[in-house]
Symmetry: C2
Subunit: 409 residues, 2 copies
């Protein structure tokens, strides 16, 4: 009954306060690196980028046809066509060919009447620079192509290359080390037995960290031995921006994360007033931040989403983005405790053209409630629940469910 | 004046009809492959997946504490606490430890009073299975984890692993070959000169194809030589699902794409009633589809988006998704031709709390109008334009602009 060895929570602080502490604890200066523009999809610029070249670099024909001097075409009309001589009055041009002085307009091929190999007729006057793609129409030298802290999209890659840019300074991705802990963890399902659990959370974390824009390494599960976990965490803090310790974040006898953070760094909070996800623990060690994520899958998901993904976004200099929401009415009453902000998983459906939300299982361990959820209702602290029929805002799960477009409108 | 060598458009068909022809021409049977679940993020399942194991695999303690037989605790209350003997009446358990017969309930450590090393007292009766995480709470053996044609998310990876699944059958990614064409194309901006253009479109295509979920190879630019382009395209059709020929899709003297498709396969359409993007050409050759994309960057973007990206999604068995939209009023009149569906790039802003959309440059070659756009107004065929003040639907550009959340609500 090693009761004296049990931790107690510091206290459960509110989610907003916890996120603020976490974001305030991140190292301020951003690490950057130079990469090729063609490898920059999804990366974040660390400085504004200006065009080095104009595109097009020269006045170019925008049509197949002939180039002429527009000043000399004023007299052309249907009744008195204008005859022009090759290489004196006009040149044959294809789309993209340069238009150089003295030429300053293009007549499209459809409007040219061929008289012989050397002679053409046109039937209307030209305006200056007609059908000419002028220097810099696409991108002008010196023009801002992308600002700083901009996530590079395909169109940006096109514009950067067209503007003569080959390499780009971007924010380095956060380096995340994931340390699954627990003597009960196995990696091979063939070894399943009473007392054994397949390590699935750490792979979910890997995928979430990758989606959030981090580089990520997952270690093999570490047994519940305080010294081994401490040494593994301390080593990871030397090389990582963010260290995740999976499980062991609560206040049980084998919950070592808090003690380890206190020993190798500085504890910032332990316990957040959210459900699932209460046993989150956070601290810093050197330049790394260490996040203890609970072992229950659904708790783990929310703690990762609100803390780890937020830290990764902040490292990249990106704003924390609100999730898309819909409004629906609850099909059943949801009870809740006064002490926590609760994340209620719901399934959406349409009844008589109205969007309705059915609460799914509440357990912190019920992974399938997360897989099957279309969205999350946030049930605020200090309320005892939501009545059936209550109209609530629902944060949509990424790519969740099969809500038909009509249902949503 | 090689007028006789010029192509003419088949005719300009409507966008919807063109997309229908394209999707109807795709090979029907989907290629699949087996991959590890941990590498499946973003991949698309080709069949429903059911759990092979329950998780947890055994009844597990949900708390640190002691496990007891609930039937024997009925008499416990504050006035007459119940004394229990270690290894006879109770066992000490940590969270996750197995609860095996005859035990069937857990008392949390906070509710246990230690009398001596062998004896405890409890002050209230237990209910059956209290604080026990029962077999399959997380995932039940045989339960559907993900359906077919489901894009794998981090939570799915967690649930699949927890359900004993290690490998997954997924749809093979489309293999896309991009062939930039044009004697004027250069890859190194130091070689810029009159008549030279930096090849930027093909790299934008590479990024767009990757984002859409394809595997992609980009060839070096091929000069404007009919035979060389034809051989390159024919070879690409042997190994690819989709072959993109960049530039040469119009009706000029050096626009070879249509002729090449007619020679190596079957032409399906040439010319779509959209602006920018009219000179799109599409056909099939063997099992590959060949898409001729115009050379102007903005035309290229829209043709890629509506045809290539759509083909990639269809190959994956995914529904074509509508883009998120907002409603705004136009700040200026937009003129347009009766003959085309027009894509008008707009910048969004807020005036007096109302969302307004300012049209940007209309040119097919103005890449920066796409980079700077927050969204696209679709101006239908058979309308002469939209009046200033008209309230229009705007398709938001992916990650476009910096429209503040408040502006949008």
């Amino acid at each position: 009954m090693k009761k004296h060895e049990r931790n107690t929570y510091l206290n459960s602080i509110d989610l907003d306060e916890a996120v603020e502490i976490l974001l305030g604890s991140l190292a301020d200066s951003k690490k950057t690196e130079q990469i090729g523009v063609t490898a920059a999809l999804g990366r974040v610029s660390s400085a504004p980028v200006f065009a080095k070249l104009s595109s097009p670099y020269y006045n170019a024909s925008a049509m197949d046809g002939v180039c002429v001097r527009y000043e000399k075409t004023a007299s052309a009309n249907e009744k008195t066509p204008l005859r022009l001589k090759k290489n004196t009055d006009f040149l044959v041009v294809d789309t993209g060919d340069p238009i150089s002085p003295p030429y300053n307009a293009v007549v499209m091929i459809e409007d040219v009447v061929e008289i012989d190999d050397e002679t053409i007729e046109i039937h209307s006057p030209c305006s200056a620079w007609q059908h000419v793609r002028s220097v810099g129409e696409d991108v002008v030298v010196g023009e801002l192509i992308i600002p700083s802290y901009h996530e590079v999209r395909p169109v940006d890659i096109g514009a950067l290359l067209a503007g003569g840019i080959q390499t780009l300074e971007v924010i380095k991705k956060s380096f995340v080390t994931i340390i699954p802990t627990g003597t009960e963890l196995i990696e091979n399902p063939d070894e399943i037995a009473e007392g054994k659990i397949i390590d699935s959370n750490s792979h979910m974390f890997e995928a979430m960290a990758t989606e959030a824009g981090a580089e990520c390494v997952r270690l093999k599960p570490v047994a519940d031995d305080y010294e081994t976990i401490k040494q593994t965490a301390a080593a990871a803090c030397e090389t990582s921006d963010i260290v995740i310790i999976g499980a062991g974040s609560s206040a049980g006898t084998e919950d070592y994360t808090r003690g380890i953070i206190e020993e190798i760094g500085e504890l910032k909070f332990h316990g957040v007033a959210i459900k699932p996800g209460k046993p989150a623990v956070f601290g810093t060690a050197g330049n790394a931040c260490v996040i203890g994520v609970p072992g229950y899958p659904v708790s783990a998901y929310f703690v990762f989403e609100y803390f780890v993904a937020a830290a990764i976004k902040a490292h990249l200099g990106l704003a924390q983005q609100d999730k898309p929401t819909v409004t629906a009415s609850l099909t059943a009453r949801v009870y809740s405790s006064l002490k926590h902000l609760e994340f209620v998983r719901v399934k959406l459906g349409s009844v008589g053209g109205r969007l309705v939300a059915s609460p799914l299982s509440r357990g912190a361990g019920v992974t399938m409630s997360l897989v099957n959820a279309d969205g999350i209702v946030k049930e605020p602290k200090n309320t005892e629940g939501l009545e059936a029929g209550a109209v609530v805002q629902i944060e949509l799960m990424p790519r969740g469910g099969d809500i038909s477009k009509e249902t949503l409108i």
